[in-house]
């Protein structure tokens, strides 16, 4: 018995299991971790709010106890000293000695704190000025760095984006590794059995450039079921599409190890599988307005480059 035979036998299981599998569908759950994190964030917000509230109250209490005039309590240092002296004089006439002492102490502490605040403000403004200058310098350096990187990348992509040198492309593919990760930079897109890494952005970018008539190129790798990579290079020069496929590492490639071709059109077919899920197929062909059916029936020649599932 083979896997296929078992697959057929599974097809004959009791219908109740088939119906059960169709009916059982769990609703989207609110992530319990999200609930906990929301509660934590709410507590933090309350704590922060309380902290600032208490700080405001402390400052308010200190000001009211030492100054009659609100404007003087917040005003310039020279004016403040004058009003403070007047307040001290006024308080010295109070009946309770303890009150006089405590208020005088509070006044002194507040005055000191106020001085500190003024000094701190000066220091802060100096720091801010320094930080501002440093930030400006960093930004300038970063822009310079980005420009340098962009220039080098631009020069590399410029070379790739205009290349139709079969030997050069073959050599480059031969030098790529067997194991790909999304950020190695060896290719633009990795297709693992319909799932794209790092995503479809590079494909969409390529399409956008071709639609605007600009030169563009894209490299992708797709994996067979055995895990063998097949490389594709597609380049557009404003007029037509040049394609190279390298299946030299596919154990089942047979005679079709390397393919090269020029096509006038790139057709993208989309089929909605279910809500939000689409099957997308790219086909290179020399005729316009070709249906997929015509291609599959062999009425028109075409080359299927990539097929993947996209969520929207």
């Amino acid at each position: 018995m083979t896997g296929k035979d078992l697959f057929r036998e599974i097809g004959m299981i009791d219908e109740k299991y088939v119906v059960e599998a169709e009916e059982v569908k769990r609703p989207v759950r609110f992530n319990p971790m999200l609930k906990k994190s929301l509660a934590t964030v709410a507590c933090l917000c309350i704590c922060i709010g309380l902290y600032f509230g208490v700080r405001q109250l402390d400052i308010g209490v200190g000001g009211e106890s030492t100054a009659n005039s609100t404007a003087d309590a917040v005003g310039q240092s020279a004016g403040y000293d004058g009003s403070m002296a007047a307040s001290n004089g006024a308080w010295q006439e109070s009946e309770s000695f303890f009150d006089e002492m405590s208020i005088a102490a509070t006044t002194e502490a507040y005055k000191t704190a106020e001085d500190c605040e003024v000094v701190e403000k000066d220091e802060n403004s100096e720091l801010l000025q320094d930080n501002k200058q440093e930030n400006e310098q960093n930004e300038a350096d970063s822009q310079m760095g980005d420009a340098n990187i962009a220039e080098s990348v631009q020069s590399d992509r410029t070379v790739i984006e205009t290349s139709r040198d079969f030997e050069e492309i073959s050599e480059r593919f031969a030098g790529y590794s067997d194991v790909f990760e999304p950020d190695t930079g060896e290719v633009d897109v990795i297709n693992r059995h319909g799932e794209l890494q790092p995503g479809s952005a590079a494909l969409e970018d390529f399409l956008a450039k071709t639609e605007s008539g600009a030169d563009a190129a894209i490299e992708l790798v797709q994996f067979t079921i055995e895990g063998d990579p097949i490389f594709y290079y597609i380049q557009y020069n404003g007029k037509d599409f040049y394609m190279v496929m390298d299946a030299r590492r596919d154990a089942f490639a047979g005679d079709k190890q390397m393919e090269e071709g020029v096509y006038s059109n790139l057709q993208v077919y989309e089929e909605m599988l279910e809500d939000g899920l689409y099957n997308v197929i790219w086909v290179l062909t020399n005729q316009e307005n070709v249906t997929l059916e015509e291609l599959e029936q062999g009425k028109v020649e075409g080359f299927t480059v990539i097929q993947y599932i996209q969520e929207r």
């Binding site: 219908e15 769990r26 059995h193 279910e274 197929i281």
Partner: protein, 185 residues
């Protein structure tokens, strides 16, 4: 329209039977076929062939559950199509499903046994009856509906790694279960 009414249309040889079937189950059949053949054009063909096969099967058959009946036909037609297309087009996802099922069948012992069609299906029914509902649903979605691991994870609201683990363990159990009953590769 209810399934019983659709079945009645088939018995009356009314062409509306196909229209109603397509309207109610077309998407499901296309999805099952698509999971196996891997391209839209073949999936559509399989769907149409399913309607023809159903028209020929009803009557005399009067299925209990129309969706399962149609799904079974679509599945078999798609599998035949897949085999026909295998040389030119390969559906990587379905190849993976078949290779997973190969794991369920132990290596050959000493005696070669051949089973009548459907006998193993009965064993599978007994096996499935013992499983927990979640495990059973995951197994059937994978190997009857040919859903991808990602689709199953989304449907069951669990992680893909959990789906893979459940499938791996269930395949191992199935392998032992079938081996005890003399089913080998």
């Amino acid at each position: 329209m209810e399934d019983s009414q659709i079945i009645e249309l088939y018995w009356q040889r009314s062409e509306n039977a196909i229209t109603e079937t397509s309207s109610k189950y077309g998407r499901l059949l296309r999805k099952i076929a698509m999971n196996i053949v891997g391209n839209f054009s073949d999936a559509e063909e399989c769907e149409n062939d399913t309607y023809i096969a159903t028209w020929n099967a009803i009557p005399p058959t009067r299925p209990n559950v129309l969706s399962a009946f149609l799904g079974k036909i679509a599945r078999n037609i798609a599998l035949n199509r897949y085999e026909y297309n295998k040389a030119q087009k390969r559906n990587n996802e379905f190849d993976l499903i078949l290779s997973e099922l190969e794991e369920c069948i132990a290596a050959k012992n000493t005696v070669e046994e051949s089973f009548e069609e459907g006998v193993v299906a009965t064993m599978l029914d007994e096996f499935l009856a013992k499983l927990k509902q979640e495990t059973r649903v995951i197994f059937v979605r994978r190997y009857w509906y040919s859903d991808s691991v990602k689709d199953i994870a989304k449907r069951m609201q669990i992680s893909e790694s959990k789906v893979k683990t459940v499938l791996f363990r269930t395949r191992k159990e199935l392998q032992d279960y079938l081996a005890e009953r003399g089913v080998f590769v």
